[in-house]
């Protein structure tokens, strides 16, 4: 390939990072990886894809580390990056499904070593519409506050409460279990849930 016309192989963004930067970044990424895989497995319903996307997220983290390291809530930022990446791929899922139509069910349905209950929960989460699912995962798995979730979704906090309530209600219905909805309870007890970030 003619690199003079098409190549833009920038040096790794870590090239200017100090040894201390690298150590801190490595430690941060190592701590985030399992959390991201879990979060993305829930978000996408696909454990293998989750690992792939988690690494993609860490690529972004490494490239934006000078900015991220100064954040108060790095985890929230990283979670937001992760679900955005997942969302982008999610939109392409139908194309993958069409390919699977040719190849057989390999990409969207995976063996689940965690058992039927876990599979049922993930399937129920995966069946949620995009935004309620993202709100649910960020709020109740990723540990983001309502304000952070709202920021990630680009919506008011009240909308987050509504989305998570819808998601929990759908899970109740699908799974046939009585689920506690922390945001729903909050909304019921706090007159103006939009006035501040819920923990």
């Amino acid at each position: 390939m003619d690199r003079s016309t098409g190549g833009h192989d920038h040096p790794p963004s870590l090239g200017s990072a100090t040894v201390t930067d690298r150590d801190e970044l490595t430690a941060f990424c190592a701590a985030q990886l399992p959390r991201l895989v879990g979060l993305l497995a829930l978000q996408t319903g696909d454990r293998v894809l989750a690992e792939y996307l988690a690494h993609d997220t860490l690529v972004v983290v490494s490239e934006r580390w000078p900015r991220i390291r100064g954040l108060d809530r790095r985890e929230a930022y990283v979670s937001r990056v992760a679900v955005n990446l997942a969302s982008s791929r999610w939109r392409r899922r139908s194309a993958a499904a069409r390919a699977a139509a040719r190849h057989g069910p390999s990409s969207l349905v995976h063996d689940d070593p965690d058992g039927a209950d876990a599979a049922a929960v993930r399937a129920a989460v995966a069946a949620l519409p995009d935004r309620p699912r993202t709100a649910l995962v960020l709020r109740f798995y990723g540990g983001l506050s309502a304000a952070e979730t709202a920021d990630a979704l680009g919506c008011p906090e009240g909308t987050v409460t509504s989305l998570t309530s819808r998601a929990v209600a759908a899970l109740r219905h699908t799974l046939g279990v009585d689920l506690d909805d922390p945001d729903g309870d909050l909304a019921a007890t706090v007159p103006d849930a939009r006035s501040g970030g819920t923990p």
């Binding site: 791929r89 993958a96 995976h110 519409p129």
Partner: protein
Amino acid sequence: VTDVRDLLTSTTPEPAGLAPVDLDALSARGRRRRLAKRAGAGVLSLALLVGAATVATDAVRGPDAPTIGEVPGARGWVSLPEPPLPTRSSPQVLHVDDGRLVVAGGHVGDDPEGIIFRTDGAVLDADRLAWTPLPDVPFADGSFDQTGRIAVFSLHGRTLWAHAQDGPATAPSAPLDLGELRFDLARLDLDDLDAGWELLPPPPVAGTLQPFVSVVDDTVVVLEGTDLGSAFRSRSGLRTSGAVWRDGTWTTFEPAPLPPVSAPFVGLDRDHLAVVGGHGPDGPSADAAVLDLATATWSVAPDLPLEARGWLVDDVHTLVADGRMLVAGGVVRPTPWLSDVGPPLEELVSPICAQSSDPEPCEVPVLGELPSREGPPEIASGPADLAAGVAWLDLDTLEWEVVDPDLETIHTPLRPDHLTPPHSLSLSGAELLTGTDAEDDGGPVRVLGDGTIVPGPLPDAGIGAQSLTYVGGTPVLALGPGPSDGGARVAVRSGDGWVEVTPLSAPAGVTYALAGTDLVAAGGAPAADAADVLEVRLLRR
């Protein structure tokens, strides 16, 4: 009462035992990601490859097919009448040589029971712009289950073919009784819809899962699938043995006289079946063999004169045109994340669920429990190594012609993107053109063949090109939805620039096809809060 947090964290715990984070690997991955973005490495399914190959073949053969409708002066999408079918994503769109348009198959992907694949369809009369439902195909809608009960349609002349595999319903984790699998293959004469579908005698591929079917004219080739327990859901068991349907009878053929591999390139024309490359126990293969369909005998061809390679899935039906098979793209070293790249057939078949009559419980392997592969060191994380170079194999003389040994083929390597074939493969006249797609920062689109490097059309981040086709020699890019969650976007090359036409309403799941010189877009997953319709639109040029 269960706390929803507890439910989620207990059923999806943070995994242990992940590979250590390697910053250098992440940096390398970042470079690859940028490179992939420059190539517009969005998801392009194999169905699109087959479609592109069909289009390309047609371009070589130069049919002057009639176009649909008359929309003089139109510069945007024109809505065709809505087909009398339920809505769906990714329908198959097939253009008949008399101008008719067939929309069939596709799936409904948001059903809580899983993805339901449609088996119905309709044909559009080009003159009256009226749809006629196709007769009921002799197999039913199916869920996205382990049997692969999926209807796949293909058009050859004016004969529409459909095939699907069915079996008894079992729990997703349970082994499947391979002896009870049924494989249906049917054809429909589009000039005599009243005659209905003709169900062919069952091909002699009983006891294998997800065989590979390819049709050229009246010849059908079926490669046997895996006989692994279906819960493994692997595609690594495709065999090179199978059967040919010709003149009303099935003739079986033996496996290619090559070491067994998974994920080879497979090409078919009227007289030949060719198998090239694949992944074997010692790594990627450069082996090649061609089956003479008339005599059911194999000939071993010289090795691929490029770096050995295979795909990441089996039954990749690559382009064959004018008696030559194209080898472009592929991977030279797959990542171990991909189970279906794993060990070749012989390593997996015998111990696990191979015999449906086995009274002992099947032991079904799961991800992470596969036998380790021998061969070159595997990549601990990150994408597969991609192969460079483009070559043609002459199926009669068994001679190779290397077009460009250095051309880098770029595609997103991992599941589900690993299904992606080389992007933008197309032909213009008799000249090979391979183009990569757009870069999200407006970088180059590479078009090989005429040496053209043209800039990408859209600067928005987050938009990946899904396909690049050529309509009358003009590149047409189908793009993903924009960041605003709008509909899918399409750009057409015009002069030195690109013209983006009106976005579609569906953000994804749209099928793009060529009908003569027109671009057809059909189906799609509806955007949030949008009406649930099955749109078929036409971009007349």
